[in-house]
Symmetry: C2
Subunit: 189 residues, 2 copies
Amino acid sequence: MPTPPILKTPRPVATETGASLPDAPGQPLPTKARRERASPAKNAARAVDTVDSSYLQSLMGYNARRAALSIIELFLERLAPYGLKPVDFSVMSTICHNPGVTSRQLCATLNLLPPNLVGLIQSLQSRGLIERKPHPHDGRAVGLHATPKGHDLMVQAEQTATELELEKTAKLTPAQRKTLLALLQKIYL
Amino acid sequence: MPTPPILKTPRPVATETGASLPDAPGQPLPTKARRERASPAKNAARAVDTVDSSYLQSLMGYNARRAALSIIELFLERLAPYGLKPVDFSVMSTICHNPGVTSRQLCATLNLLPPNLVGLIQSLQSRGLIERKPHPHDGRAVGLHATPKGHDLMVQAEQTATELELEKTAKLTPAQRKTLLALLQKIYL
DNA sequence: TATTGTTATACTCTATAACTATA
DNA sequence: TATAGTTATAGAGTATAACAATA
């Protein structure tokens, strides 16, 4: 089992300013003078040339988040012409593939909170992308359906999303890509 | 090359209410009457029993985001006793492993925006977890250093984070976990 | 009594413009 | 002129409590 790199940086000794290593008084201090001329500040310390983030890179949460944000960044750019952000896209896609799905089902599937879905649904409806029809056997619920306009939009949007994803995962072989999807689902499903 | 499931739901025909399939007038309408009794609403449609999200599950961005959020959810819970959210943790960890790192370097490494880091740094400093020392050879920059208190906190916090991650990835073998980390880094690095 | 959908609202996160001081 | 750090602020995302209608 690979042990992740745990905080192995030496714990800093509690040296206050000039508390330890006091200057020898009365001496010309050539060494320290030169050092202070090179480093203008009084309380200086070593600088960092290249940042080591190997510990964070051993964490799944960190890597998953960074990878997700990297993809979402391009997603926002490419899907902007469709007026779809990631959540809108997920909602529309799920409605298209599940005609008659309810808000509650959408929330459960996409891990959204009901109050936050209300505005999204209203927006998609006012854009003429979805319709709301009475639920066949539950008067409280409302079935969501994509309009022909919404359906056509999503055919294009899903095409764009799939292309964008293949670009972002260009360093992966098809087999690696499939593996990655399966392993990620083992975490959240 | 595996082709992801593209929107294959049949595009809904533009049938208005009763426009197509009109009832034969003068007929007893037993079939339709029974159907309407079972479904009380006038404009009803089929209900969805189980939601199909196979298309979204073919997208790397969707899976990476869902996996990240799943881990972060537990992270927030377990790291709350330390008063650390994911960003605080990443910042503190990077400072601990890179004594003297600057704000700008933190931003570049962790993909943060400078204005959003200011408050974080001030908060960590006021908690006595980090110190700000002049940069050795750049009067504009400030080197960040963990205090002994901050260092001790992070030893515990990193231990907790690593444990939590192993729980969340319990369905993965060590080899799969290593593979997953490497593949994710191929996307965002 | 429990659930669907909704409103109002607060809190957090993220992003942009502009300023200062130093290089 | 360019960069490090900062301020102020706007916008988006996420969260809880409470309500009406229906099961």
